[in-house]
């Protein structure tokens, strides 16, 4: 285990140190006093666990392939951009464009998420990215989503479980919303809305279990609620456009 005091450190120096430790196979890195340093965990692979105290800067865990990053605070924008594998746990809220083009791994957000979460997520064979949000995301949730799974729990019971343009252009993957219904005007026209089945809930139970254990929630309480499932009408919405 190694601890780095990141106070007033430039992101380049900090990330050099982290890279060296990860490449040397360090099991745990504790980062203290992080404030705004960008690109932490970017393009790294391995099984290191990074604990972050403070507010990490933009593009946390971009292109990350492995590793677990746990943030004891809020995140900023563009977390997990095109991430390939690994896990991100944020004990707070996150900003915009989180999980953009994500292609593997998982992300657990305790509270709300900003606009454009999970845009163009994708999946291939066993690579299925997962995003679980304890609060609610903003507009353009899952826009152009091509694969993966996103789950919104709305544990603080806000009026709007998602913003507008949810799943616009969606052509793969699945979104689960823990609610009784969601207004049709918020959904992209490519989206089919239906009640989640027993089988669906079984499918997502492991992610909810992880969420409950990370943030100390009662799993049964979360699951004891109706879920709505959103999935695309077809895999090639523009297949006939140029035919």
């Amino acid at each position: 285990m190694r601890t780095i005091d990141a106070k007033d450190m430039h992101y380049k120096d900090l990330n050099e140190m982290i890279k060296e430790l990860v490449n040397a196979g360090e099991d745990v890195i504790n980062l203290k006093n992080v404030n705004g340093q960008r690109y932490i965990g970017d393009n790294l692979n391995g099984s290191t666990k990074i604990n972050i105290e403070g507010t990490p800067g933009n593009d946390l865990a971009a292109f990350m392939d492995g590793l677990t990053i746990e943030v004891f605070g809020n995140g900023q924008d563009a977390i997990g951009n095109t991430m390939n594998d690994g896990s991100i746990i944020v004990h707070g809220h996150v900003g915009d464009v989180v999980g953009y083009g994500m292609r593997g791994g998982s992300m657990y957000i305790k509270n709300d998420a900003g606009y454009r979460v999970g845009i163009h997520m994708k999946q291939y064979k066993d690579k299925v990215p997962v995003v679980v949000i304890g609060g609610t995301p903003g507009d353009f949730f899952g826009e152009y989503m091509a694969g993966g799974c996103m789950i919104v729990l709305n544990l603080s019971n806000k009026k709007d479980i998602v913003g507008e343009y949810c799943g616009t252009g969606m052509h793969g993957g699945v979104i689960y919303l823990r609610c009784n219904d969601v207004e049709d005007y918020k959904l992209g026209k490519e989206v089919i809305k239906e009640e989640a089945t027993e089988e669906d809930l079984k499918e997502i139970s492991k992610y909810i279990k992880n969420f409950s254990s990370y943030f100390k929630y009662d799993y049964d309480k979360i699951m004891n609620h109706k879920f709505i499932k959103l999935h695309p009408a077809g895999h090639r919405p523009y297949g006939k456009l140029y035919a």
Partner: protein, 374 residues
């Protein structure tokens, strides 16, 4: 040096704003520390600050901050100034030698009031007269720019990184109850001293991250009301639009927010009957005052600020509160740098304004509005 287009600088502007709602003043060092956290969002081609409450000894006077390219521009402007204003005090704005701030123009400030006989002859309010005077100088005096013109406030800006601009202007020596800051990454327009943010007219200043694709529509609209855009940057129109809406048209701040970030028609259709009527009218009357394109901006006025995003939120903005102090910034880290443990941190939605104002009981104390009783 590589020319623009041959080098990629991954960046975006940075904005930060702080107000103490109790009216208590604090040093410019705090806002400088906040904006410096986001150093990598700007590229050194513009940085600036707006400070409110810094000139209590001249709070009745218009504080003109001027850039002069040469002494001829200075002479010419001063002649105009002295013909139209009574000047209580004038000086070179104190600066310190800073390695990275180069090619500084001559920078002066004047605390002045329009001459009564000039106002009477023109049959015009003093604010309108001052606005006319500013546009006249900025348009017609070669090499002279009035970049700040409010009362008990001032704008300080330059080509450079914001933290260097703060050092250059010795901002740690000023105390204000409200500050905003900007780190610039110019995309479409030149990086020059006049084009740095904040943009100011009277007591209104604007710092902005984004691009206003509606610039030309806004500019033409403003020209109909006598504004002229001379600073070669899109954000200039935002300052004048808020002057028009708040000072000239007396719109409540919350409604002005809904003019520049107007709800989309399909959202209006879902509103209650009363709201629908209001927003229909607002959208039609002020269609040319809509700011289109990606933006997050902080507009400061007499007694507070409004921070707002474009409707579909294409730029970042985080807000926080700690006691009487309200913070807004492009990144949460810029707030945490100067306030480690805020009471509350939140990310406003697109088009949803954060309005923070001085508590009413303190307003009169600070501004000492001239209310003459019969």
């Amino acid at each position: 040096m590589l020319k623009e287009g041959n080098i990629r600088i991954p960046s975006g502007c940075a904005i930060s704003g702080i107000i103490d709602r109790s009216g208590a003043v604090f040093s410019g060092q705090i806002i400088a520390d906040s904006i410096a956290t986001m150093h990598d969002r700007s590229n050194g081609l513009g940085g600036g600050f707006a400070a409110y409450g810094i000139y209590p000894e001249f709070k009745e006077h218009y504080a003109f901050h001027m850039f002069y390219d040469n002494t001829k521009a200075k002479q010419e402007t001063e002649e105009l100034l002295k013909a139209n204003f009574v000047i209580a005090y004038e000086e070179k704005i104190p600066t310190r030698k800073t390695e990275s701030i180069k090619n500084a123009p001559l920078i002066y400030r004047y605390f002045a009031l329009p001459k009564l006989e000039v106002l009477n002859a023109n049959e015009i309010t003093d604010e309108d007269f001052v606005v006319k005077f500013i546009f006249n100088v900025n348009k017609n005096v070669d090499g002279a720019y009035i970049f700040s013109s409010g009362k008990n406030m001032g704008v300080f800006k330059a080509v450079g990184y914001p933290e260097d601009v703060a050092e250059f202007y010795k901002l740690e020596t000023y105390n204000g109850y409200m500050w905003t800051a900007h780190g610039r990454f110019p995309t479409n327009t030149p990086g020059w001293w006049g084009g740095a943010h904040p943009f100011n007219l009277l007591n209104i200043s604007v710092v902005h991250n984004g691009e206003l694709s509606s610039y030309d529509t806004n500019r033409k609209y403003l020209e109909e009301f006598g504004y002229s855009c001379t600073l070669q940057t899109d954000t200039e129109v935002a300052a004048y639009i808020f002057d028009l809406l708040l000072r000239k048209h007396n719109l409540p701040v919350s409604l002005a927010a809904k003019v520049v970030a107007s709800p989309l028609w399909n959202q209006v259709e879902r509103m209650s009957l009363k709201e629908k009527e209001l927003y229909h009218s607002l959208k039609i009357i002020y269609s040319k005052a809509l700011l289109n394109g990606p933006f997050s901006l902080i507009v400061t006025y007499d007694n507070g600020f409004i921070a707002i995003n474009d409707r579909i939120k294409l730029r970042p903005l985080t807000a926080a509160s700690h006691g009487d102090v309200i913070y807004v910034a492009s990144e949460e880290s810029a707030i945490r740098q100067v306030c480690k443990n805020p009471d509350r941190v939140w990310i406003p939605k697109g088009g949803e304004p954060v309005i923070a104002e001085i508590d009413q009981q303190n307003v009169s104390e600070i501004f000492n509005k001239k209310e003459v009783t019969a």
